[in-house]
Symmetry: C2
Amino acid sequence: MFSIGDLSRRTGVKVPTIRYYEQMGLVAAPERSEGNQRRYGRQELERLAFIRHARDLGFAVEDIRSLIELSGHPEQPCGHADRIAGEQLISVREKIAQRQRLEAELERIASCCNGKTVGDCYVIRALSDHALCANEHG
Amino acid sequence: MFSIGDLSRRTGVKVPTIRYYEQMGLVAAPERSEGNQRRYGRQELERLAFIRHARDLGFAVEDIRSLIELSGHPEQPCGHADRIAGEQLISVREKIAQRQRLEAELERIASCCNGKTVGDCYVIRALSDHALCANEHG
DNA sequence: CTTGAAGCTCTAGTGACTAGAGCAATTACA
DNA sequence: TGTAATTGCTCTAGTCACTAGAGCTTCAAG
């Protein structure tokens, strides 16, 4: 039997976040001690680790809810789980591509400021005038 | 003189977002028509374009506030603007690196699901067991 | 038996918007 | 000039995934 603090240390999920997940229905409300404190077992620990892992991978809470739901029905075809993961992969790739465009733009902006005052600072000028951008972004 | 809708079309910033920026003090409250509608001039258009550009580049609203403040004092040294841009660059690079780790992990997870049911679905198993991860993430 | 850490509930705040209700003003066309 | 469609106004509340704080109670160690 773990306290909420134990669970937190073992999974790396912060205590208030565990309570928040309970409120959101991502984890079930656990047993309580005589003094009304939460007491968790191994099963809850595993579920929370699952959630933690999926959050680290960028899955939205709603996706995680679906994945948990699916994992409770191991006899069903796994196309749905595949689709959720595939969509997440696409979204991650899009974000990377987008951020790489920003990186290029920021590099250009931040590296060539050799003005001494704001008046001729490249950072400010580049932000004021989109025409100074080498390529499209946003 | 532009209406808020004109301004929105010209800058690509949505109408409620313009009003939100006004509320946050990022753009000044403009003149009003007799019927209490906002009327903007060229200066406001430029400022909003600046904000739009900076947001596209991922700058936080608070950073933009600083950059606007700086651009109003063109005689000051531009080290501060440089620093904001440099920090933004670092943060973008970190996010790219993080996302690339996730991409690798998700690729592995999403690509090798050849189970027919959730019971032996790699997606679910990989999320349940961190040990299946090729490398660290999160 | 006391002390200090950890737990409890509840409310409110974060960032950067977005949505909707319920009106008023403007504009285009007949 | 009439009217209908569009655009605008304010205000409140919702989004996502937490995070912070107040004010209290319980637990574990010494």
